[in-house]
Symmetry: C2
Subunit: 262 residues, 2 copies
DNA sequence: GCAATTGGTTCATTATTTACACCAATGGTT
DNA sequence: AACCATTGGTGTAAATAATGAACCAATTGC
């Protein structure tokens, strides 16, 4: 069913900030593939520079080729370069941790983070993959993206991360509708307990959401007044990002942003 | 001979700063693979997030997954984060363009660049792959790396980039020997005409070179006096990089660096 | 309206991948 | 020291997945 190349690339998904290094046997066990198969695949990934093996421990980790490709992508489509300063300002304006996530297939990949300076803050890890149905960024993206994406997603069974996670398709569609009319989405402990998220969409040249900017706060700090201020800043930041990356926000969203700025 | 996964990954090598986007037919022609094959492989690479397809032009380009992996790698092994400031200082000290390259298999990948502010300067492109035998960085790396690497490389026919490029194995071995005793390597228009390069090795935990720091200047500016100053700075920068990344320089190199600093 | 592109798909033939068993080496336990 | 359970890594027939010529449909230029 799945191609060998796909299986080989799926090995890359197991490398994360928390598990940046893998031994052969361990990775074989985790991926459910045969050890011999994994060994051959790792060799191929190494040859391509996507992985490298430490000479002493024989552990595998992400390789220099990744950096090469990232540099090329940034030199030609400088998304993270553009978004860095915007996030930094958003963090200093709101005092809370801000992040940007981009759609990759039907996954939402966190590509930039600007951490709050407060002692009690929400901390995100690099390269984290966010849910589309249970995070503010995810809902914001979904609400303004191709309808087919939401259709596909809501047809599947969804993960219930916390008691507050909404997994009912019809109620989720209502949330998306609300997000469309308000211009942002919120997530009250639906992804992680004690965390309140607010997210607004970034648009591509077609006027469809290709990602989102989000702000996450400890839930106890999220009063009505704080929320109003954060919403205004997040929407403004998302609009700025859309413009600077050559995207085009739909009129509806532009009007909302203008109202919030006033 | 070569696995399908390897062929699929080889498609990634065609994406560069100059050709960041490819159409299906064009890439098939360039890679020498069948169009149907390339199409399937591109689908797999897209699914893994390594590539993405623009909706309008249908062109393929490097995807968000690359950024995700790069973030994870940087969060856990922050090479480029460490090297950025070092290169910036090197550039301001020497007034010339500095770059860092890391060994990936038997390729030297440029992972960071700090451009000179002078009007007439050497300009490098992101993610460029450097020759091991015709660049200062390459020779510096080769000289202090595993002997097997040089053996393998010198057994192959080498590319003659300019009339000054040395491709004779025995003479190249003499250059490597010189580099080992001097602690740095130089490249007088051997990779690109009009460009003079000076490179010094970065070491890993085993005391073997895992890359190099290089400075490239227009050849007419490279007087004896200028060269002496650049050499001292480059070697110092390479040593600093080695220390900050947890590497261990061999005693021989430490002595050379101490002499140059005096 | 024709010719030459493009991106994309199909399906029988073919060549590759797979998984089991196996090896050598390491490290901890009795 | 013998033992057991690991580790990374490697051959090999059997099973599976990749291949590529021919084929669409849609643009584009003339």
């Amino acid at each position: 069913m799945s191609s060998t190349a796909a299986k080989a690339l799926s090995l890359l998904t197991h490398f994360s900030e928390r598990t940046p290094e893998w031994g052969l046997s361990e990775l074989a066990r985790r991926s459910g593939l045969d050890k011999a198969t994994v060994h051959r695949m790792l060799a191929v990934l190494m040859q391509a520079g996507l992985l490298e093996q430490q000479a002493e421990t024989r552990l595998y980790r992400l390789g220099v080729g990744i950096l090469r490709l990232a540099r090329i992508r940034e030199a030609t489509f400088p998304i993270t370069t553009i978004i860095g300063p915007i996030l930094d300002r958003l963090t200093s304006e709101t005092g809370e941790t801000a992040h940007a996530s981009l759609l990759s297939g039907s996954e939402l990949v966190t590509v930039a983070i600007s951490e709050s300076h407060k002692a009690n803050r929400v901390s995100l890890s690099a390269g984290e993959i966010l849910d589309l149905h249970s995070t503010a960024s995810g809902l914001a993206t979904l609400a303004f993206s191709e309808p087919a994406l939401a259709d596909r997603l809501l047809a599947q069974p969804l993960a219930q991360h916390t008691p507050h996670t909404e997994i009912d398709p019809t109620r989720l569609r209502r949330l998306l509708s609300t997000a469309r009319s308000k211009g942002y989405a919120e997530a009250d402990q639906t992804y992680e307990i004690e965390v309140y998220g607010i997210g607004a969409p970034i648009f591509d040249t077609r006027g469809l959401a290709c990602g989102a900017i989000g702000v996450a706060t400890p839930v106890h700090r999220m009063t009505h007044r704080v929320k109003a201020r954060i919403v205004a800043r997040v929407v403004a930041a998302a609009l700025e990002m859309t413009m600077k990356s050559g995207g085009q926000a739909p009129d509806r969203f532009n009007r909302i942003a203008a109202d919030l700025a006033a």
